[in-house]
């Protein structure tokens, strides 16, 4: 008995010592493991895929993932330490393209110039288009890597949907306008009471208006836009949200929920979806061909849809840029839509951007913008 106790006691002690050594020891890069996280991944398959990608990245000597973003996506800077903590040995390098949200063509120029550019970036199908046309976007099978189905049904092949931008929202100054005052149909914007009250952004505004145009036809959408401008003094300006916040104008029609971010600045604004104008534009990550870090880039894209990452980006801009899909039921944007009594999964209310309609919508947005502001 004494001998048995000694034998098994030794085994237990050795096991405990090994576990302690594994937890505390650094080891070399080849033995590195992902750092601990308190947030959950969408599913076990994706976790396993990320672990494999991580090991493959280290084995291949990949060190850095360079990511394009614009100031509105400044949560990228908060993602950096989280990603690097979970995946030691990899560095996330965000590249802020500033006001040039159409960085796709800039990246193409850098690549054509033989220079190291970005490995991926968070943006829409439209911005990726120059790279897609040049054959520089990898058609990654994200579903095979465990990504939920509603994250891979993207407008362009290879795009992993990170978040959505819900259009069809009217952002209004609650000091001057009540929800009940708002029109229930877009033609209601021609009511004289909205004269000199409306302001829209030139790019996002017509991108959102284009969803309406897809439903009712270009001519009707164009006629509405012209009438809003000529009869009711619709102002088109990049600083639309600032003009609303300062009290200069009281409503932004055909906007996205991003306008709710003004609340963080103490501005009393609210949002209301206008039936018949809802649309969901999708933004995400795609892997650019020729990247020196293919495994690390895929790993980063997958990690960006985990709760750990999404909980951070959800807090930005009032939750405006968050995922609506059913695989993330607690996202800020999905909850906002539900709060307004709408079903985010109802295609009659929200038209989702797909490979079948994104080109038509983008082209329509451009034609509306050119026709109304030049």
């Amino acid at each position: 008995m004494r001998q048995l106790k000694r034998k098994y006691g030794a085994v237990v002690v050795l096991t405990v010592l090994m576990l302690v050594a594994a937890a505390c020891g650094g080891g070399d890069d080849d033995d590195a493991s992902p750092g601990a996280t308190t947030q959950t991944d969408p599913n076990a398959a994706m976790t396993a895929a990320m672990d494999k990608l991580y090991k493959d990245a280290l084995a291949a000597g990949e060190k850095e993932v360079s990511v394009a973003y614009v100031p509105l996506q400044s949560y990228m800077l908060e993602w950096k330490p989280l990603f690097e903590k979970r995946f030691p040995g990899l560095t996330l390098t965000p590249r802020d393209f500033g006001t040039n949200s159409a960085w796709g063509s800039l990246v193409l120029q850098e690549l054509n110039a033989g220079r190291r550019s970005v490995d991926t970036g968070i943006t829409s199908a439209l911005v990726y288009k120059p790279l897609v046309d040049a054959g520089l976007v990898e058609n990654v099978d994200w579903a095979a890597l465990g990504a939920p189905k509603d994250r891979v049904d993207a407008p362009i092949p290879g795009l992993l949907i990170n978040h959505d931008i819900a259009c069809g929202v009217t952002i209004y100054d609650s000091r001057k306008v009540k929800a009940a005052d708002l029109p229930t149909d877009p033609q209601g914007w021609l009511d004289p009471k909205w004269r000199n009250q409306m302001v829209m952004e030139p790019f996002n505004g017509f991108a959102c208006m284009a969803w309406y145009g897809l439903k009712v036809g270009e001519d009707k959408a164009l006629a509405l836009g012209k009438a809003m401008k000529e009869q009711n003094g619709l102002l088109v300006a990049d600083s639309a949200e600032n003009l609303l916040a300062s009290g200069e104008r009281s409503v932004i029609p055909f906007h996205a929920t991003r306008g709710l971010a003004l609340k963080d600045k103490g501005v009393p604004v609210e949002a209301k979806f206008l039936p018949g104008t809802g649309g969901v534009a999708r933004q995400g990550f795609a892997v650019i061909k020729g990247t020196p870090s293919p495994n690390a880039t895929r790993l980063f894209a997958l990690w960006s849809i985990t709760d750990e990452a999404q909980n951070v980006s959800d807090k930005t801009l009032g939750g405006a840029y968050s995922f609506i899909g059913a695989s993330r039921p607690n996202s800020a944007l999905r909850q906002e839509i539900v709060k307004q009594g709408l079903n985010p999964d109802d295609p009659a209310i929200f038209t989702y951007e797909t490979s079948a309609n994104w080109v038509a919508r983008s082209d329509l947005a451009t034609r509306l913008r050119v026709a109304l502001v030049g």
Partner: protein, 603 residues
């Protein structure tokens, strides 16, 4: 005592020959001159400076002109599949784009010019030709708007001219019977008012010099004959000033053609799309690779207009001597006694300074401490904080942009100062035929006629086209070279300085055996140091505030503060304003150093 040995190429001509007297050279140039008599130190410097300048200007412009005739529009001119075509011009004409852009540019330029000239000439006359009290102080305050970086200045004017909540409109409604407005940022009048007032300092600078140098004898004779002050101004003063007025207007028009900041911030809402904004919209496109060919086509039209104006300006100024009042017989520049008009004149000047200088600076300070601007003292009291400054100073991107700004500005200031000063010295000391000197002067001033957006696009497309042999694209060097396009300004300021220094000093140095470099270093440079210092600091200030070049040519790693500030303007206007306030502080220090050097020179 033997006469100093001189090289025959530089030997003084024999008495009575009437030939040009050459400054003898020494040192390394002496040996070179023995074998190549036509090579002198001055010619080497001249060739070096002008060749460098031409290399800086000609290849990018040539690339733009070449690209305008290459298609398809979204291909670089030497890219596979590119071919010669007129399609770019056809496209911009048939689409109506060129017509609309030309019309909008004409409205914008003429309107802004009218505002700038009206205020500028009146202020310059009051300060230089009357006994207006505190004239020197007003002269300094007129230049206060130059403290504000142009893109932030556009933000300030937008906040002043918002129809309901603009600070200027709120103040105007205290005395005028309007429910809204009366001014509107998003309208053509609002845009030209903001742009015009921003250029009043330049008009005051140029017209002030003209008024200062005008003999008052004719005006006195007119008044003694019983003509009123207004009549004297209209029939005597204005006529004598015709060349200066026209010259200033034309120079202003050249600068306005390339103006970009206010149209960018105001333009969309105002429905105006001048050339600079048109080019920006074409280059910053979401849907595809930019239509380089069409942008090049627009650029060539802009350059043609700008150079046409420059040629007209030079023609007018070449005939200016017909209106000379200051001669070797001496002149008087007596000041008109304003008498009972002193108080109204002071009030008008005070009002101008309030609107053009005090209010923009005030609104920027205000915006920098609140997240959203609203002209309400109560809200200011409740929400004011230094958060914007704290967030900026804690942002690594701000420091990266600041570092980029310092490096680019210093590099560009050095290039423009050395190049501009060398070219100015060559032209100032040129002894050849008048036509030769005029040609050199024209070449050196060439860059003045190139609007900033065109300069930026030309270098952008040149660097992209030649990236395999000249890997400058996307680096800080690209921006240093692009900023150095403004060498024409440095040249003109340095030329004025060199013309004031007698060449006898250099000749005496050369006669003592000193070479060109030694003469420059030990004789000319100490005398020119204040002027060169002013040129350097002006170059530094201009580079620090530059926006239209880096917005086209920069990338995330090379963005200077002006582009970074623009990027913050929509979502974080308080941070953009805070950057403007900090920028003003730096420019104020540099301007003070500039003035100190200028005064030192005067002594």
């Amino acid at each position: 005592m033997t006469a100093p040995t001189v090289d025959t190429a530089d030997a003084p001509p024999a008495p009575g020959t009437g030939g040009a007297r050459h400054v003898p050279g020494g040192g390394w140039s002496r040996g070179l001159t023995r074998w190549f008599p036509w090579i002198t130190g001055r010619r080497v410097l001249a060739a070096g400076a002008f060749t460098t300048f031409l290399l800086l200007v000609v290849p990018p412009l040539a690339t733009t002109f070449f690209a305008a005739f290459r298609g398809p529009a979204d291909r670089l001119p030497l890219e596979d599949g590119a071919y010669a075509t007129l399609d770019n011009y056809r496209a911009i004409i048939e689409s109506g784009g060129l017509g609309r852009t030309a019309r909008d540019t004409a409205i914008f330029v003429l309107g802004s010019m009218a505002v700038a000239m009206t205020f500028g000439v009146a202020i310059a006359w009051l300060i230089e030709r009357t006994n207006l009290r505190f004239g020197r102080w007003f002269y300094l305050l007129v230049f206060a708007p130059y403290l504000i970086p142009p893109i932030i200045n556009a933000q300030a004017w937008q906040l002043l001219l918002l129809r309901d909540n603009g600070l200027l409109n709120r103040l105007l409604r205290l005395i005028l019977p309007f429910d809204r407005g009366p001014l509107d940022a998003f309208s053509m009048p609002g845009m030209v008012l903001a742009q015009g007032l921003s250029w009043v300092p330049l008009v005051v600078l140029l017209m002030g010099a003209a008024f200062r140098n005008m003999d008052s004898t004719f005006e006195e004779a007119s008044r003694v004959s019983g003509v009123s002050v207004a009549g004297t101004f209209r029939r005597i003063t204005a006529r004598l000033l015709i060349p200066s007025l026209l010259g200033t207007s034309l120079l202003l028009a050249v600068f306005l053609v390339g103006q970009f900041e206010i149209p960018l911030v105001f333009g969309l809402g105002a429905g105006l799309e001048p050339f600079g904004l048109r080019i920006y919209k074409l280059l910053v496109t979401e849907s595809s690779v930019p239509p380089y060919g069409q942008v090049a086509a627009y650029s060539t039209v802009m350059v043609a207009i700008a150079y046409g104006l420059i040629l007209l300006y030079r023609r007018i100024m070449s005939r200016a001597e017909r209106y000379t009042t200051v001669t070797g017989k001496g002149y008087r520049a007596n000041r008109l006694d304003l008498g009972r008009w002193q108080a109204p004149a002071l009030a008008l000047m005070g009002l101008y300074i309030l609107v053009a200088a005090v209010l923009p600076i005030t609104v920027l300070l205000w915006q920098s401490v609140v997240p959203i601007f609203q002209p309400d003292i109560g809200l200011l009291r409740d929400y004011a904080s230094l958060d914007a400054y704290r967030e900026l100073l804690a942002d690594a991107r701000f420091w990266q942009a600041a570092k980029n700004t310092v490096m680019i500005s210093l590099g560009a200031a050095v290039v423009t100062t050395v190049l501009g000063s060398t070219m100015a010295w060559v032209v100032a000391r040129y002894r050849g035929k008048r036509l030769g000197r005029a040609a050199l002067d024209t070449v050196a001033s060439t860059s003045l006629g190139i609007p900033s957006p065109v300069a930026a696009f030309s270098l952008y497309i040149f660097f992209l086209t030649t990236v395999r042999i000249l890997p400058v694209y996307g680096t800080l060097w690209a921006l240093v070279l692009a900023y150095s396009f403004r060498v024409g300004v440095a040249y003109r300021v340095a030329l004025a300085g060199f013309l004031q220094i007698s060449r006898e000093l250099e000749e005496a140095s050369a006669m003592s055996g000193a070479g060109v470099v030694t003469t420059l270093r030990r004789v000319l440079l100490p005398l020119m140091l204040p002027t060169v210092g002013v040129v350097f600091i002006l170059g530094l200030i201009t580079a620090m505030n530059e926006f239209s070049v880096p917005i086209f040519l920069g990338n995330p790693e090379t963005h200077p503060l002006s582009v970074y500030a623009f990027g913050r303007m929509q979502q974080w206007p308080d941070q953009a304003a805070a950057m403007g306030v900090m920028g003003m502080g730096v420019v104020l220090l540099l301007a003070g150093a500039c003035r100190h050097l200028a005064l030192k020179k005067a002594l």
